[in-house]
Symmetry: C2
Subunit: 250 residues, 2 copies
DNA sequence: CGCAACTCCTAACCCAGATCAGTTTTCCGC
DNA sequence: GCGGAAAACTGATCTGGGTTAGGAGTTGCG
């Protein structure tokens, strides 16, 4: 396979597509990227991909399946920080830091490409443009964490749940896994509770309310936006922070 | 001034010192960094440094004073996402994204160096090592936001307040603005409330409890750790996420 | 096939923290 | 040193969401 073919095939991965939405990458850049990508691995539900407190962890680019990163508390509780969907880069902090500060757990069976620290840093010196692209991707992830933080700090349980489902929908649409109508969602109400900082019981109540008011229906692994506009309105959702406005750098 | 002198003087800035704790940067790298740094600006309390929704914003490296980044909600409430202290890079997302997704407000009078988007990206292509360093700094900031998120999602008001004060103390110590005994803190209880996702009234109650139990005293702009170890214990503070373990890359 | 483990769902009760409605103290400019 | 405005502080009351304690499908696996 020559370089152009590699570049063409990598271009179709959800991760590359996301980066290309921001930075123009040359075929050479893409070829370097595809090298990072080589090692494909599979993970079953129930076995964490990344472990808090351990050193020499890898990062991954999710090819298929869902995962979530979370932190455990001394008391036994946990907080899910982010849900990862195909195309997401996960565990960046676990390779930049000596020891990982969080866990990553598959929610469904997962296929992912392993990214090693030295390969990533070597790639940066070959093509600084890739470094900028990765920095952008990391910043976009941070923007989502920030919005999640606002959810927990200043929105009611109902607003928060609505906002979260809208964000997830917007992200999935970007990689072709959903539309304005809704999306398939393998999250249990327990995981949703750990994400939203609520109890599972209350998540159940809130979902019922949202359903009865004709806003969203989340049942049987499927989220359906019954009244998209009303949902956006009540949750104060503003997708600006997802920065979907096309490539910034020439 | 020749290149070596520039490099020597920049090495003493809190920002450079923070990066040097992680990546070894050559004199040439430092010289490139000092170029980014050239434009020094001052900001008075009451005038935001960065505005949500506006384009062509700058980023800044804080030289002196405190600032905070926050998001406003449609309902009029706000959530403070992060407190910035000297040495912190602020507004990275406001230059990587077309429009800023957050505001930054000075808490005290501030001196800061302006960093422009094209200068930053140009610097990356001159020295990829700087790109890695900035990516690390951004990841460390994200780690703090993540811990803040855990605060809001899964800790009680008391744990949360204690945890926040400990983190702030650890960060200030790193730039020489505090010690294990305590630090000077210009935050009002209102701002603390917007940071911790609480009402100002409740912040006041919590601070009183913490004081009466001999854990921390926050009065007259000064935080004093009365019983550091007990405070760490009750809040579940683990400074691993601040990644203070010395340079990772050769 | 049958038991175990999950997940979803519900009702009753309770409490951490919000809200309301102030008073007092501190700070700062004139 | 005085007036005005933040900031700090308080008590009383109310409520969103937690906790406890179930039951009723569903999936999977030995």
């Amino acid at each position: 396979m020559n370089e152009t073919n590699v570049a063409l095939s990598i271009q179709d991965s959800p991760f590359a597509r996301k980066l290309l939405a921001f930075v123009r990458l040359s075929d050479a850049d893409l070829a370097i990227m595809s090298d990072l990508y080589r090692r494909r691995r599979r993970f079953a539900v129930g076995v964490d991909m990344i472990h808090q407190g351990q050193t020499d962890q890898c990062a991954y680019v999710l090819a298929s399946g869902w995962a979530c990163s979370y932190k455990l508390l001394p008391g036994g509780g946990r907080q899910i920080v982010d849900i990862q969907i195909p195309g997401d880069f996960l565990g960046l902090r676990s390779i930049l830091f000596r020891t990982s500060d969080h866990n990553v757990e598959p929610i469904t069976p997962v296929q992912a490409s392993e990214v090693r620290q030295r390969d990533l840093i070597a790639a940066f010196s070959q093509t600084p443009r890739l470094a900028t692209a990765v920095l952008w991707a990391a910043s976009r992830d941070e923007a989502m964490v920030v919005e999640h933080l606002v959810d927990l700090g200043r929105r009611t349980a109902t607003e928060r749940t609505a906002h979260f489902l809208l964000e997830l929908g917007a992200r999935l649409r970007l990689v072709g896994l959903g539309d304005r109508k809704g999306f398939l969602c393998p999250l249990s109400q327990y995981r949703l509770a750990d994400t939203l900082g609520l109890s599972a019981v209350h998540v159940n109540r809130v979902l019922r309310e949202l359903r009865e008011e004709g806003l969203v229906t989340f049942q049987k692994g499927r989220v359906v936006f019954d009244d998209f506009d009303a949902l956006v309105e009540m949750s104060g959702f503003d997708r600006a922070y997802l920065d979907h406005e096309g490539p910034l750098l020439i």
